[in-house]
Symmetry: C2
Subunit: 512 residues, 2 copies
């Protein structure tokens, strides 16, 4: 393919100033292909006839239009230095930029995997892309850029199929500060936590992804790791490669991991929204700051005030399905629940039974200095959360699968979920959000933004009884800050019909 | 009461040779009360008018007639030395002995608790009586002598209400060998493993038991024991006094312990026979030689070839109900199953998850030198097992509750239980039986007696499909030695109707 395309690009280049073009009447596609006579070189001359990208110029096909426009503005203003693009960006007016951005966003171009990295480098890259490097607080690339690295929202570009050199150059530029760090400076933060070989590996893997291929980390060769007793406060879960020796046990671990990773796909009959376990329990249930799965397993059965009874680990997991995933409880002997149990216990290998690890749950916050304020929270949200979760809290999806989780609306956790309580959410947010930039919000900001998120419509509490007031009395009065049953912006939260009314006005912008 | 009885005894004593009596025409009651003129002092003169026992002479009321006859023979032959009783026993003929034995067996007499031991001594005694001293291989007194120490079968006398001095003298005599060690020398073995203060404590507690009072060990003052990580091969479960700090968790542990101890009473709706968990899992699931509960908890979920699926601990416990207890599986969220789960996990406190303790299950045997032979096994059974489990394998009961578990027949484990397989049973028997004398059977004896026990009628395999042959093909063909579906002594084991036919011919002799 490469040899076919390059001559075409050269041919177009040859006609660069020859083909007459009337800018005013030109479409985005025409500007892209032909440029503007006497003024603007065709985009295609560097980015390829189909916007497929020609090293070192990036692939433009499929990039979010908003992202492209933003980059052009950054070039024009000099925020993103680039000898060629700065001039071009200045030459284009806003309409032209917008038209070309729309065109490339909709362009379909073949993927042209580049690079010749070794299997080891690709495997290391796959880990970063599919899993991240949580020991350094680096989330998986796919968490924001999507399972196939095809992009995750208006500000989150696709990476798959980009020329390896382009990707590596960008990562280095993020690290050195010669390119702006992206929303919240996230890319600068992330690149700063990785060494050059890691940047190289991530770029190589992303560049090599084929169309329709989901990022996936190899488990690695069979590990020499052996189950051993561990200190609960210095615990490390087993490496992926250290699966149980019994093949059936190992199969259950792998299924559990899949369900954990993509719950709507692998436990479809029990989920009622598009959330996956890993959306809250980051690093596949391993992150000690986000209610690690391994810290839960040794504590059950235990009494929970929520349902005023003893709970086995099964019952606790089933409650996640009922509330957080707004679905229904898998039976205790269902393959799905058994697999999740097995995964949880495998992650916990070596932890002493009956001893609560310090990492259990997430670090609690003290009382807020000021009462949580949803209006202040709205500003925190706009500045820190909208970029990924969207203005209406509905996250984003790619090819029908949720990439960024919904924080409210029909695809989010329901009014019975633990996360709906503002103290839980504030603690979780403070310890974990923004994804990849945890620790940047103050405690007060976390309280306020939790109030904003949890004062929005979401699916009904499955324990709903008689009325929202009665249900609040039965199940919600113990929370210090609680919006269930309150009227906010003209909507009575939790009242029958509220979510539907809201949904009509706020169609999910992210599903595609 | 004491002051009332002594004068009566003295009065009778005064008439000892005065009241004429015709031995041939006398009833057991008469001989007991009046003696035989010119020949035999009334039993009542020492043992009390109502056979209630007057220190140092034992209570005779309620003792099994067979036991009384055996003791009289032992006195007569000089095997059980006693200055007074040896002469009396020689003076009585077999008919007289038998009549008096029958009379005292049926006599109802008030309990006259004796002794003035301190609360500490009584508590130590209660432990020995209700729990045993398993670290030394000493089972609970109540395991054989019944929950109220009222006796456990024809050879197992009641102890409750005996004069403390009498009981202590007997224990010392068992230890020193001046009284025969009882069936299988069990009492000699047991007394030899206890020190003088323990013998004293056990005697004091048994003597102090009131009528209708079940032996029960106090849990002791709140322990300073704290949950801590433990080596799975040097594991010690928490002491009873170290309950979970959360009151609801502690309640669940206590309920689980109760169910474990008396399953037909505390999990009645799920049991189909009179077995309790502790009948196999001795020392309340703590004994490392009898499939300790604590060694199971850290291993689940795991794959089991029995049902060809992953099993959670709940499912494994539920299978005990379905097979070993011939009942039905408690739902995973039932209080009973949650309590047993909680009890199991509490016993396992400090064990590392996912590591199999060496004590898991029970020590497996090598292949038998000779094929297991049920006929040889019958002889082993008669010599070692009949004394407790009875000739027809149905154990014994007291006040409607099983004291000695049934090994076959309608009250035993069914054809689907793990224990029905001869290799499991042989290993279990070799490691644990006879109760209190484990280690006295050779491996071959264990194999043979397992073949005898497991070639007897028992309840149907709940997986029964179409026919006994089909069911054998589906679920039993993997066992090396298997009687399910075979015709033995004219009965096809496992065939519909076989158990009923057998039961009609062998009514449970032990239920009373």
């Amino acid at each position: 393919m490469r040899t076919l395309i390059e001559p075409i690009a050269v041919t177009i280049l040859g006609f660069m100033y020859v083909v007459p073009a009337h800018a005013a009447a030109m479409s985005g596609k025409q500007i892209y292909a032909q440029g503007v006579a006497d003024k603007l070189a065709p985009c295609a001359s560097c980015h390829g006839a189909r916007a497929e990208g020609v090293a070192p110029s990036p692939r433009l096909a499929g990039l979010p239009a908003a992202y492209v426009v933003e980059q052009m503005q950054a070039y024009a203003k000099g925020r993103r230095p680039n000898a060629v693009m700065q001039d071009i960006a200045k030459l284009m007016d806003a309409d032209q930029t917008s038209m070309v951005a729309d065109y490339v966003a909709s362009a379909a171009a073949p993927f042209l995997p580049t690079g010749k990295s070794s299997a080891d480098v690709l495997a290391a890259g796959a880990r970063l892309v599919a899993i991240g490097k949580w020991s350094a607080g680096v989330p998986a690339c796919r968490d924001c850029h999507g399972p196939e690295l095809r992009g995750g929202g208006p500000a989150l570009p696709g990476l798959a199929g980009q020329p390896e050199t382009y990707l590596l150059d960008q990562l280095k530029a993020f690290r050195s500060g010669t390119r702006p760090g992206g929303p919240l400076g996230l890319m600068a933060r992330i690149a700063a936590k990785l060494d050059s070989s890691e940047l190289q590996a991530a770029a190589a893997y992303a560049a090599a992804l084929r169309e329709g291929q989901a990022a996936e980390a190899p488990r690695g060769a069979k590990s020499t790791w052996q189950p051993h007793a561990q200190d609960p406060d210095r615990f490390e879960p087993p490496p992926e490669s250290a699966l149980p020796t019994n093949a059936e046990d190992a199969k259950a671990v792998l299924l559990g991991e899949k369900i954990f990773d993509n719950t709507p796909k692998y436990a479809a009959q029990y989920t009622g929204n598009t959330l996956s376990c890993r959306n809250c329990h980051t690093d596949r249930g391993r992150n000690p700051r986000s209610a690690p799965l391994w810290a839960a397993a040794p504590q059950y059965p235990m009494y929970r005030s929520k349902n005023r009874t003893m709970n086995s680990l099964e019952m606790r997991i089933a409650d996640c399905f009922r509330y957080s995933q707004n679905g229904r409880s898998p039976p205790a002997d269902s393959p799905e629940l058994l697999a999740l149990m097995t995964y949880a216990n495998w992650l916990s290998t070596g932890l002493p039974i009956g001893i609560k690890p310090k990492a259990s749950g997430y670090p609690a916050l003290g009382k807020p200095a000021q009462l949580p304020d949803r209006r202040r929270g709205a500003a925190v949200y706009a500045a820190n959360c909208t970029v990924c979760h969207g203005a209406t809290g509905q996250g984003s999806a790619f090819a029908g699968a949720q990439v960024i989780p919904a924080l409210w609306g029909p695809q989010s956790y329901n009014w019975g979920a633990g996360m709906h309580s503002i103290d839980n959410a504030a603690a979780y947010i403070h310890a974990n959000m923004p994804h990849g930039a945890a620790g940047t919000l103050s405690e007060q900001q976390a309280w306020d933004v939790a109030a904003w998120v949890n004062s929005q419509p979401r699916p009904q509490d499955p324990r709903f009884t008689e009325s929202v007031q009665k249900t609040r009395e039965l199940y919600h009065k113990q929370h210090a800050y609680e919006y269930y049953g309150e009227t906010v912006d003209g909507l009575t939260l939790g009242a029958p019909g509220t979510l539907e009314t809201w949904s009509k006005k706020n169609p999910n912008p992210a599903r595609r």
